[in-house]
């Protein structure tokens, strides 16, 4: 490789001599070919660029003999100089000999290349002559070939003609034989005869103007007509099975019989056959009860599963087969088939239903109606007037009864349905049926749908009253349903699902099932909605009472309070009743800071009694801003209270919700009124009374306290002559009342 490059470099170097380039600047001519050489042998340009030009580097491009000499002369001792000189001359000699070897080698190669080229030139000249000869010969060959084919053409044509005539004759022969064959096959192998006729028909029709052909055609027509006649008679036979029927009709179609007529014929035949099967099934059923009274029918001749099995294999199978062949025969036009099949299927299902209804020994077992019935019972039990002194059935009892009977009913229904998966039932072992049935029908369609429906129905009681005019559900029912839904979420749903999965094991590849947690979430949402609604309904009832009492009273002209107003007592009574009601079904729940109840209450009492009216500053004309400052600062430290907010599933939370709604209503109503001095005092008394009795129901008594403080502050604002009552008097009145 190195040698070759060097060689080419030398060659081009020779060609690019100053003489050859003709007057171009000599340096350029030389330097260009030197480039590759330099790149090959010399230090890389990159290196050169990196190192600073060193004139003393003997191999470097910037070598300057003068500088080198002076440097060497001045730096080195004599011995070293001499050694250096010897080394240099040795190196030069070695380089000289290398160069000579290279030059010699290259020269040799050049010589041999010249020889080769010369030889090639001679060979080519010889080859040219041979090619000319070849061309001449080829021309001669093609000329003679043309002559030969011209000579043969005529004979070839005659041969082809003869072959054509022979083929025609063979066809004619076949045609002439057609009637014979048809006759032979018509009796035994109608299908083969048809094929034969189909092939011949077109030709015969085309040449029918020739008398001889016409004779053949007529004859074969006659035979085919006869065949068609035979087929038709056969078609009317009763004993044809669906396959033969199909074949028969197919052949008739090939004979170009009218399709309309045939399809009708086909359907009527098929109909007759299916009717027969239906009749057979019907025969197993006891005669439709015309007498009306539900006399218990004789035990049916066959088991229900047998019945269904037979029905699905015989009737449904035949129907499918016939429908399939109808489509194949008469194309996509199913206008006639559909009503036909539908009518038959309807009758079949009617029969099935009749059979199934015989099976229902236990009357109407629909889960949904059962549940609604239970609910109706509960509702009645709740609404029934209770004789004084005698408690009606407690809510927990009602709940337990309801839950148990619904669950029992669900189990019973599952047990009925399980019959379908019994091992000895033929269709139950079909994988298609089993997967579909267990998952889609039972788990999703029955169990999941029932739970969903239950939640929805329960929710309906909460959402329903929005429809104006509909009778609202009694609050106790809401509470009961909330608890029921909550129980479902906690345990019942997972129990039911486990039970179902055990009895109806789902297939691996079956359709996706609704996961239990999703159902639980639905049940929980329903429970939450119901409980929230309960709080709203009860809160609204109490609030309504308070609102009316504030709106209808004349607060300006009222007399000095002697008593707690009756409505406040009623409020406390109602809330106590609600507390009892909720307590029957829900846990107590946690109360915040219960231990310090009494102390804080004492403090608030104390503070309001010491400074007669904490709102006093607002009456001094000098500081109208102080009230704001005071109430704002107070508000800064109290959390914002959401009045109608979701509650938790415990008694305290429910009661807190109701109390919040009631007290906020009181606040808003007081703000809309103008009070006299005694009006304010009445509010003071009422507020104290409420606080005395309500704090123990709330999760955080500060909520009650805060709201009542706001009521008191607002009442003071709305008072023309704000002179609060002495606290001891307030306490006295409350204790007495």
């Amino acid at each position: 490789m190195a040698a070759a490059t060097a060689g080419s470099g030398a060659g081009s170097g020779a060609a690019g001599s100053p003489e050859a380039t003709g007057g171009s600047t000599g340096g350029g001519g030389w330097r260009r070919p030197h480039g590759p050489l330099q790149r090959y042998y010399g230090p890389s340009t990159a290196e050169a660029a990196e190192a600073p030009p060193d004139p003393t580097d003997i191999n470097g491009p910037h070598f300057d003999p003068e500088v080198f000499m002076t440097k060497v002369r001045s730096e080195c001792p004599l011995g070293q100089l001499l050694a250096r000189e010897a080394a240099l001359s040795r190196e030069i000699r070695a380089l000289d000999s290398d160069m000579q070897t290279l030059l010699y080698e290259n020269y040799n190669k050049f010589i041999s290349a010249t020889d080769t080229i010369r030889k090639m030139k001679v060979d080519f000249r010889h080859m040219e002559a041979e090619m000319d000869d070849l061309a001449a010969n080829m021309a001669a060959i093609s000329a003679s070939s043309a002559r030969v084919s011209a000579a043969l053409q005529d004979r070839h044509r005659r041969g082809a003609q003869l072959a054509g005539v022979q083929a025609l004759l063979r066809k004619l022969q076949a045609l002439v034989e057609v009637p014979g064959r048809l006759r032979r096959w018509a009796g035994t192998e109608p299908a083969r005869a048809l094929r034969c006729h189909a092939r011949a028909r077109a030709v015969l029709r085309h040449y029918r103007h020739l008398p001889s052909f016409r004779a053949i055609e007529d004859e074969s027509h006659a035979i085919m007509a006869e065949l068609a006649q035979r087929l038709r008679t056969r078609l009317r036979e009763e004993t044809l099975d669906p396959k033969e029927l199909t074949e028969c009709v197919e052949m008739l179609l090939q004979l170009e019989e009218p399709a309309e007529e045939l399809s009708e014929e086909f359907l009527s035949q098929a109909g007759a056959r299916l009717e027969a099967e239906l009749a057979a099934l019907e025969a197993e059923l006891p005669a439709a009860d015309l007498s009306g009274t539900a006399t218990t029918p004789l035990p049916p001749a066959s088991d229900i599963l047998d019945f269904v099995d037979r029905g699905s294999s015989a009737f449904v199978g035949t129907l499918c087969q016939l429908a399939g062949s109808y489509r194949a025969l008469f194309g996509g036009d199913t206008g006639r088939l559909e009503p036909f099949a539908a009518a038959l299927a309807t009758r079949y299902f009617a029969l099935l239903e009749r059979r199934l209804s015989l099976e229902r020994g236990l009357g109407d077992t629909s889960l949904l109606t059962f549940f609604l019935g239970c609910l109706g019972d509960v509702r009645q039990a709740l609404a029934a007037p209770r004789p004084p002194g005698k408690e009606g059935p407690g809510l927990p009892d009602l709940l337990a009864t309801l839950a148990a009977s619904v669950l029992g009913q669900l189990k019973a229904v599952l047990a009925y349905v399980q019959l379908f998966t019994a091992r000895d039932v033929a269709f139950a072992s079909l994988p298609y049926f089993k997967g579909e049935f267990c998952v889609t029908a039972v788990r999703e369609g029955l169990v999941v749908a029932f739970v969903r429906w239950l939640c929805r129905t329960a929710r309906g009681f909460a959402d329903g009253p929005a429809e104006r005019g509909a009778p609202a559900a009694p609050p106790a029912l809401l509470l009961l349903l909330a608890r029921l839904c909550l129980d479902y979420e906690n345990s019942t749903i997972s129990y039911i699902l486990t039970l179902t999965d055990e009895q109806f094991p789902p297939q691996d590849s079956g359709p996706a099932v609704t996961p239990g947690p999703a159902l639980c979430a639905e049940a929980r949402a329903a429970a939450q909605r119901l409980l929230d609604h309960y709080v709203q309904v009860q809160g609204a009832a109490v609030a309504q009472m308070l609102r009316k009492s504030v709106e209808t009273r004349d607060w300006l002209g009222t007399v000095e309070p002697r008593n707690v107003r009756a409505v406040m007592k009623r409020v406390v009574e109602d809330i106590t009743a609600i507390d009892v009601q909720v307590g029957q079904l829900f846990e107590e729940g946690v109360r915040r800071a219960q231990s310090s109840d009494s102390s804080r209450r004492a403090f608030s009492v104390y503070s309001s009694s010491r400074a007669p009216g904490r709102y006093a500053p607002s009456y001094t004309p000098s500081a109208p801003m102080d009230t704001h400052l005071l109430s704002n600062i107070q508000k800064l430290f109290s959390e914002r209270i959401d009045i109608f907010s979701p509650v938790e599933f415990n008694k305290v939370s429910v009661l807190t919700g109701i109390i919040k709604i009631s007290l906020k209503t009181l606040l808003e109503c007081v703000r809309l009124r103008t009070l006299g001095r005694f009006g304010l005092q009445q509010v003071q008394v009422d507020g104290h009374y409420l606080q005395l009795y309500l704090w123990r129901f709330a999760s955080d008594e500060r909520v009650v306290q805060g709201l009542l403080d706001e009521v008191a502050a607002s009442a003071a604002h709305r008072c023309l002559d704000p002179v609060p009552m002495e606290h001891s008097v307030v306490e006295l009145i409350c204790e007495r009342g």
């Binding site: 300006l556 704001h628 109430s631 914002r640 109608f644 604002h717």
Partner: protein, 395 residues
């Protein structure tokens, strides 16, 4: 941007009455009436300088009593009506009167905001609406878009239509009707419809909303049990003539088509206490403002029942212009219409600047993107529609 922060103004007294200055269409100005039983009541004229985010106030004395309702003339910037309580030792009577504010305050001129409280001015009484025979005044409504000559007031169970004559110096009762029924019926609020040539009003009493024709003074529709509890306020959609919003003590806001009153068109349930106020935006009726005694103000986007249910459509001409301008956006706007993202009804924002019950919310009459809310403790908060939504609606 920082100037989206709410602006808060505090009054010294409790307040329930708030109204924009209806006849003013350039400056953002609200009127607030105070409630104090022991001091002279005031009407604060609140000027909001949108550019500098500054509030300027002028105070007018309203010595006759505490203000329960306030409304301004749609034609004359200086004229307003108030419902106020006249209290004696044994009786409280709510009366109504029409007033004129001093000329120089009409367009909000003010020398120095600092000492404006010292030289408070007084309203000039134009006329009383004599209600001695009719009971307590609940509210006064001006004929929308009218010449400021017709007002309707609701007094207990009466609807009274007044003609203001002699440049409002005399109020003549031109017609009236009374709502009859069992029990003590009392109107709580009412709204005058801007549609049908201003011949319809709607009133609320207890749980019922009723529509009335002002020409015959007959009831034209009645929504029984519109809310589970008391109905507190109403408003008409300014752009869709049969649409009406109501709110009440069941924490709900309901939207009605008055041609079919059996079912509400939509129901909103966002507040956690009584909803006292509902207001349609004057220009973009999908924007609904509600104020509640849960101390919150909620701005909702009810686009599905608004007059622009599919957003603002951009037609082809406009589109090609845009394309010329924004070559780089070409691909994204190759559509026949530009319909914005799926339009859904939603709560846009909940404003929690109040610490007491909010009894009044109002849109500005000048700037459709600005509104004020007033809570009982006298705190007035001015807020804006969020910028992103504003551009979404406009562009």
């Amino acid at each position: 941007m920082e100037d989206d922060a709410p602006v808060i103004y505090g009054l010294e007294f409790q307040a329930r009455a708030l109204t924009p200055q209806t006849a003013e269409t350039d400056a953002i100005r609200f009127l607030v009436g105070t409630q104090s039983l022991r001091y002279d009541n005031q009407i604060h004229i609140i000027d909001f300088d949108d550019e500098n985010n500054i509030i300027n106030k002028n105070v007018l004395l309203h010595q006759v009593g505490e203000i329960w309702h306030i409304s301004t003339s749609p034609a004359d910037k200086g004229v307003l009506a108030t419902c106020y309580n006249k209290t004696s030792d044994t009786k409280v009577m709510t009366c109504a009167a029409v007033w004129r504010m001093p000329k120089e305050l009409e367009s909000g001129s003010h020398e120095s905001p600092d000492d404006s409280s010292s030289n408070t001015q007084t309203l000039e009484l134009l006329c009383h609406l004599d209600n001695t025979a009719h009971g307590n005044m609940a509210c006064v409504m001006w004929e929308p878009m009218g010449d400021g000559k017709k007002i309707i007031s609701l007094a207990d169970n009466n609807i009274l239509l007044w003609d203001l004559q002699e440049s409002s110096a005399k109020a003549v009762l031109s017609s009236s009707t009374a709502l009859e029924g069992k029990g003590q019926l009392k109107f709580t609020s009412g709204r005058w419809s801007p549609h049908h040539n201003c011949t319809q009003i709607a009133t609320a009493n207890d749980t019922t909303v009723r529509g009335w024709d002002t020409r015959s003074m007959r009831q034209i529709y009645c929504i029984e049990n519109a809310h589970g509890q008391l109905v507190r306020d109403l408003d008409f959609n300014p752009n869709k003539q049969y649409y009406l919003a109501s709110c009440g003590d069941d924490c709900k806001v309901k939207f009605w088509d008055t041609r079919n009153v059996t079912e509400p068109v939509k129901t909103l349930e966002e507040h956690s206490h009584w909803v006292w106020n509902v207001r349609y935006n004057h220009s973009h009726d999908q924007l609904i403002l509600t104020g509640s005694s849960d101390s919150r103000v909620i701005l909702s986007n009810m686009v599905s029942i608004s007059s622009e249910p599919f957003g603002h459509m951009v037609d082809d001409d406009e589109l090609s212009d845009q394309e010329d301008q924004h070559q780089e956006e070409k691909i994204s706007v190759y559509r026949p219409f530009r319909i914005k993202e799926p339009l859904q009804d939603s709560v846009i924002a909940t404003y929690e600047e109040h610490e007491d019950s909010v009894y009044a919310v109002e849109w500005s009459s000048a700037d459709p993107w600005l509104f004020a809310s007033l809570s009982y403790d006298g705190r007035l908060v001015i807020n804006r529609v969020p910028r992103a939504l504003k551009y979404h609606i406009l562009l």
